[in-house]
Protein backbone atom coordinates (compact mmCIF):
# COMPACT_ATOMS: atom_id res chain seq x y z
CA UNK A 1 0.00 0.00 0.00
CA UNK A 2 1.10 3.52 -0.74
CA UNK A 3 -0.42 6.75 0.50
CA UNK A 4 -0.24 10.08 -1.27
CA UNK A 5 -1.52 13.24 0.34
CA UNK A 6 -2.76 15.60 -2.35
CA UNK A 7 -4.34 19.04 -2.27
CA UNK A 8 -7.27 19.51 -4.63
CA UNK A 9 -8.61 23.07 -4.71
CA UNK A 10 -7.63 23.54 -1.08
CA UNK A 11 -9.21 20.25 -0.05
CA UNK A 12 -7.23 17.41 1.54
CA UNK A 13 -7.20 14.23 -0.54
CA UNK A 14 -5.79 10.90 0.67
CA UNK A 15 -4.95 8.86 -2.44
CA UNK A 16 -4.39 5.20 -1.60
CA UNK A 17 -2.68 2.72 -3.94
CA UNK A 18 -2.65 -1.05 -3.45
CA UNK A 19 -3.98 -3.36 -0.75
CA UNK A 20 -5.38 -2.09 2.55
CA UNK A 21 -5.14 -4.91 5.09
CA UNK A 22 -4.23 -5.47 8.73
CA UNK A 23 -0.57 -4.97 7.85
CA UNK A 24 -0.97 -1.70 5.97
CA UNK A 25 -4.01 -0.11 7.65
CA UNK A 26 -2.02 1.37 10.58
CA UNK A 27 -0.25 3.61 8.05
CA UNK A 28 -3.61 4.68 6.62
CA UNK A 29 -4.86 5.34 10.14
CA UNK A 30 -1.88 7.57 10.81
CA UNK A 31 -2.56 9.66 7.69
CA UNK A 32 -6.23 9.99 8.56
CA UNK A 33 -5.59 10.84 12.21
CA UNK A 34 -2.99 13.47 11.29
CA UNK A 35 -5.88 15.31 9.58
CA UNK A 36 -8.59 14.68 12.18
CA UNK A 37 -6.28 15.86 14.96
CA UNK A 38 -6.14 19.20 13.14
CA UNK A 39 -9.93 19.05 12.72
CA UNK A 40 -9.65 19.36 8.95
CA UNK A 41 -13.29 20.00 7.95
CA UNK A 42 -13.32 18.01 4.72
CA UNK A 43 -11.24 14.98 3.75
CA UNK A 44 -11.65 13.07 0.48
CA UNK A 45 -10.28 9.58 -0.09
CA UNK A 46 -9.34 8.54 -3.62
CA UNK A 47 -10.14 4.83 -4.03
CA UNK A 48 -9.31 4.60 -7.75
CA UNK A 49 -6.10 2.65 -7.18
CA UNK A 50 -7.20 0.61 -4.16
CA UNK A 51 -6.90 -3.05 -5.18
CA UNK A 52 -8.17 -4.58 -1.94
CA UNK A 53 -9.64 -3.66 1.43
CA UNK A 54 -10.39 -5.89 4.42
CA UNK A 55 -12.26 -5.27 7.67
CA UNK A 56 -9.28 -3.60 9.33
CA UNK A 57 -9.21 -0.99 6.55
CA UNK A 58 -12.95 -0.45 6.88
CA UNK A 59 -12.60 -0.15 10.67
CA UNK A 60 -10.00 2.56 10.15
CA UNK A 61 -12.42 4.61 8.03
CA UNK A 62 -15.32 4.07 10.45
CA UNK A 63 -13.09 5.30 13.27
CA UNK A 64 -12.05 8.35 11.23
CA UNK A 65 -15.67 9.15 10.37
CA UNK A 66 -16.74 8.91 14.03
CA UNK A 67 -14.04 11.38 15.04
CA UNK A 68 -14.85 13.79 12.21
CA UNK A 69 -18.51 13.79 13.18
CA UNK A 70 -17.59 15.08 16.66
CA UNK A 71 -16.35 18.31 15.07
CA UNK A 72 -18.78 18.46 12.16
CA UNK A 73 -16.21 17.38 9.54
CA UNK A 74 -17.00 15.48 6.35
CA UNK A 75 -15.32 12.32 5.02
CA UNK A 76 -15.90 11.74 1.31
CA UNK A 77 -14.96 8.70 -0.79
CA UNK A 78 -14.64 8.66 -4.58
CA UNK A 79 -13.59 6.28 -7.36
CA UNK A 80 -14.50 3.10 -5.48
CA UNK A 81 -13.91 -0.03 -7.62
CA UNK A 82 -16.87 -2.37 -8.11
CA UNK A 83 -15.65 -5.21 -5.89
CA UNK A 84 -14.95 -2.87 -2.99
CA UNK A 85 -18.32 -1.15 -3.46
CA UNK A 86 -19.98 -4.55 -3.01
CA UNK A 87 -18.24 -4.99 0.33
CA UNK A 88 -19.37 -1.56 1.50
CA UNK A 89 -22.92 -2.36 0.43
CA UNK A 90 -22.86 -5.75 2.18
CA UNK A 91 -21.59 -4.04 5.35
CA UNK A 92 -24.35 -1.41 5.07
CA UNK A 93 -21.66 1.24 5.00
CA UNK A 94 -22.71 2.63 1.62
CA UNK A 95 -25.41 4.46 3.63
CA UNK A 96 -22.92 5.70 6.22
CA UNK A 97 -20.07 6.99 4.09
CA UNK A 98 -20.49 9.81 1.54
CA UNK A 99 -19.69 8.10 -1.76
CA UNK A 100 -19.10 9.87 -5.09
CA UNK A 101 -17.99 8.86 -8.55
CA UNK A 102 -15.23 11.45 -8.89
CA UNK A 103 -13.47 14.19 -6.98
CA UNK A 104 -15.39 16.81 -8.97
CA UNK A 105 -18.65 15.23 -7.91
CA UNK A 106 -17.51 15.10 -4.29
CA UNK A 107 -16.46 18.74 -4.43
CA UNK A 108 -19.83 19.86 -5.79
CA UNK A 109 -21.60 18.34 -2.79
Amino acid sequence: MEINLVDYKGRKVIAVTGDIDMYSSPELREALMSFTQKKIPSIAVDFNKVSYIDSSGIATFVEGLKIMKTYGGRLQFFGIPKGIMEIFRFSKLDKVFEIYGSIEEAEGN
Binding site: D19, D21, Y23, D54, S55, K66, S91, K92
Partner: protein
Protein backbone atom coordinates in the same frame (compact mmCIF):
# COMPACT_ATOMS: atom_id res chain seq x y z
CA UNK B 1 -6.80 -36.77 -7.49
CA UNK B 2 -4.56 -35.17 -4.89
CA UNK B 3 -5.54 -31.54 -5.02
CA UNK B 4 -4.45 -30.36 -1.62
CA UNK B 5 -2.06 -27.58 -0.78
CA UNK B 6 -0.69 -27.10 2.73
CA UNK B 7 0.90 -23.87 3.87
CA UNK B 8 2.50 -22.71 7.12
CA UNK B 9 3.06 -18.99 7.63
CA UNK B 10 4.28 -16.91 10.56
CA UNK B 11 1.55 -15.06 12.46
CA UNK B 12 2.83 -11.70 11.21
CA UNK B 13 0.33 -9.49 9.35
CA UNK B 14 2.79 -9.00 6.51
CA UNK B 15 2.10 -12.59 5.47
CA UNK B 16 -1.59 -11.86 4.85
CA UNK B 17 -0.74 -10.76 1.31
CA UNK B 18 1.03 -14.09 0.75
CA UNK B 19 -2.08 -15.89 2.01
CA UNK B 20 -4.23 -13.88 -0.39
CA UNK B 21 -1.93 -14.70 -3.31
CA UNK B 22 -1.94 -18.41 -2.48
CA UNK B 23 -5.71 -18.48 -2.03
CA UNK B 24 -6.28 -16.67 -5.31
CA UNK B 25 -3.79 -18.93 -7.08
CA UNK B 26 -5.47 -22.11 -5.83
CA UNK B 27 -8.86 -20.75 -6.84
CA UNK B 28 -7.61 -19.93 -10.31
CA UNK B 29 -5.87 -23.26 -10.83
CA UNK B 30 -9.15 -24.95 -9.95
CA UNK B 31 -11.14 -22.83 -12.36
CA UNK B 32 -13.18 -20.74 -9.92
CA UNK B 33 -14.75 -17.50 -11.17
CA UNK B 34 -12.90 -14.28 -10.37
CA UNK B 35 -15.75 -12.92 -8.26
CA UNK B 36 -15.80 -16.04 -6.07
CA UNK B 37 -12.02 -15.96 -5.79
CA UNK B 38 -12.26 -12.35 -4.57
CA UNK B 39 -14.80 -13.27 -1.90
CA UNK B 40 -12.81 -16.31 -0.73
CA UNK B 41 -9.59 -14.30 -0.62
CA UNK B 42 -11.20 -11.73 1.68
CA UNK B 43 -12.68 -14.43 3.92
CA UNK B 44 -9.38 -16.29 4.32
CA UNK B 45 -7.57 -13.02 5.05
CA UNK B 46 -10.15 -12.24 7.76
CA UNK B 47 -9.86 -15.70 9.31
CA UNK B 48 -6.06 -15.44 9.45
CA UNK B 49 -6.23 -11.85 10.77
CA UNK B 50 -8.47 -13.12 13.55
CA UNK B 51 -5.98 -15.83 14.49
CA UNK B 52 -3.22 -13.20 14.64
CA UNK B 53 -5.30 -10.74 16.68
CA UNK B 54 -7.35 -12.98 18.92
CA UNK B 55 -5.82 -16.47 19.19
CA UNK B 56 -2.21 -15.24 19.22
CA UNK B 57 -3.02 -11.80 20.71
CA UNK B 58 -0.68 -10.00 18.37
CA UNK B 59 2.34 -12.27 18.77
CA UNK B 60 3.93 -12.31 15.33
CA UNK B 61 6.27 -15.31 15.46
CA UNK B 62 3.76 -18.10 15.99
CA UNK B 63 2.59 -20.46 13.28
CA UNK B 64 -0.60 -20.63 11.27
CA UNK B 65 -1.28 -23.76 9.21
CA UNK B 66 -3.62 -23.67 6.22
CA UNK B 67 -4.82 -26.78 4.38
CA UNK B 68 -6.66 -26.28 1.11
CA UNK B 69 -8.58 -29.08 -0.56
CA UNK B 70 -10.53 -28.34 -3.71
CA UNK B 71 -12.77 -30.77 -5.52
CA UNK B 72 -15.45 -30.24 -8.17
CA UNK B 73 -17.94 -30.05 -5.35
CA UNK B 74 -16.26 -27.84 -2.78
CA UNK B 75 -13.50 -25.49 -1.77
CA UNK B 76 -12.41 -26.61 1.67
CA UNK B 77 -9.92 -24.97 3.96
CA UNK B 78 -8.82 -25.63 7.51
CA UNK B 79 -6.88 -23.06 9.51
CA UNK B 80 -4.94 -24.24 12.55
CA UNK B 81 -3.22 -22.33 15.31
CA UNK B 82 -1.66 -23.14 18.67
CA UNK B 83 -3.06 -20.06 20.37
CA UNK B 84 -5.68 -19.49 23.06
CA UNK B 85 -8.62 -21.81 22.71
CA UNK B 86 -11.76 -20.15 21.41
CA UNK B 87 -15.34 -21.30 21.39
CA UNK B 88 -17.97 -20.78 18.77
CA UNK B 89 -20.18 -18.58 20.96
CA UNK B 90 -17.47 -15.91 21.06
CA UNK B 91 -17.05 -15.90 17.28
CA UNK B 92 -19.73 -13.35 16.57
CA UNK B 93 -19.59 -10.27 14.40
CA UNK B 94 -21.31 -7.08 15.44
CA UNK B 95 -24.86 -6.13 14.45
CA UNK B 96 -24.46 -4.66 10.95
CA UNK B 97 -26.77 -1.78 11.86
CA UNK B 98 -24.62 -0.82 14.84
CA UNK B 99 -21.95 1.14 13.01
CA UNK B 100 -18.60 1.04 14.85
CA UNK B 101 -15.03 0.01 14.08
CA UNK B 102 -14.44 -3.77 13.98
CA UNK B 103 -16.76 -6.74 14.08
CA UNK B 104 -17.04 -7.32 10.31
CA UNK B 105 -14.57 -10.17 9.79
CA UNK B 106 -16.89 -13.02 10.73
CA UNK B 107 -19.59 -11.54 8.48
CA UNK B 108 -17.15 -11.55 5.55
CA UNK B 109 -16.24 -15.17 6.24
CA UNK B 110 -19.85 -16.36 6.52
CA UNK B 111 -20.80 -14.35 3.44
CA UNK B 112 -18.94 -16.80 1.18
CA UNK B 113 -18.35 -19.99 3.19
CA UNK B 114 -21.29 -22.37 3.73
CA UNK B 115 -19.58 -24.14 6.61
CA UNK B 116 -17.86 -22.18 9.40
CA UNK B 117 -17.02 -24.55 12.21
CA UNK B 118 -14.46 -25.26 14.93
CA UNK B 119 -13.10 -28.80 15.10
CA UNK B 120 -14.11 -29.89 18.62
CA UNK B 121 -11.60 -32.75 18.59
CA UNK B 122 -8.59 -30.46 18.51
CA UNK B 123 -6.93 -30.65 21.91
CA UNK B 124 -4.79 -27.54 22.07
CA UNK B 125 -5.11 -24.50 19.84
CA UNK B 126 -7.84 -24.20 17.23
CA UNK B 127 -8.82 -25.72 13.92
CA UNK B 128 -11.33 -23.70 11.93
CA UNK B 129 -13.09 -25.54 9.12
CA UNK B 130 -14.34 -23.52 6.17
CA UNK B 131 -16.21 -25.06 3.24
CA UNK B 132 -17.76 -23.45 0.22
CA UNK B 133 -19.93 -25.72 -1.92
CA UNK B 134 -19.34 -25.12 -5.60
CA UNK B 135 -22.33 -26.94 -7.07
CA UNK B 136 -25.81 -27.81 -5.94
CA UNK B 137 -26.02 -31.52 -5.29
Amino acid sequence: MNNSVVVTIPSHPKYLSVVRDITAGIGKVNGLADSIIGDIKLAVDEACSNVMKHAYKGETDKKILLKYKVTKRSFKLTIEDKGTKVNMENMKGRDLEDIKPGGLGIHFIKRVFDVFELDEKKKSGNRLILIKYLKEK
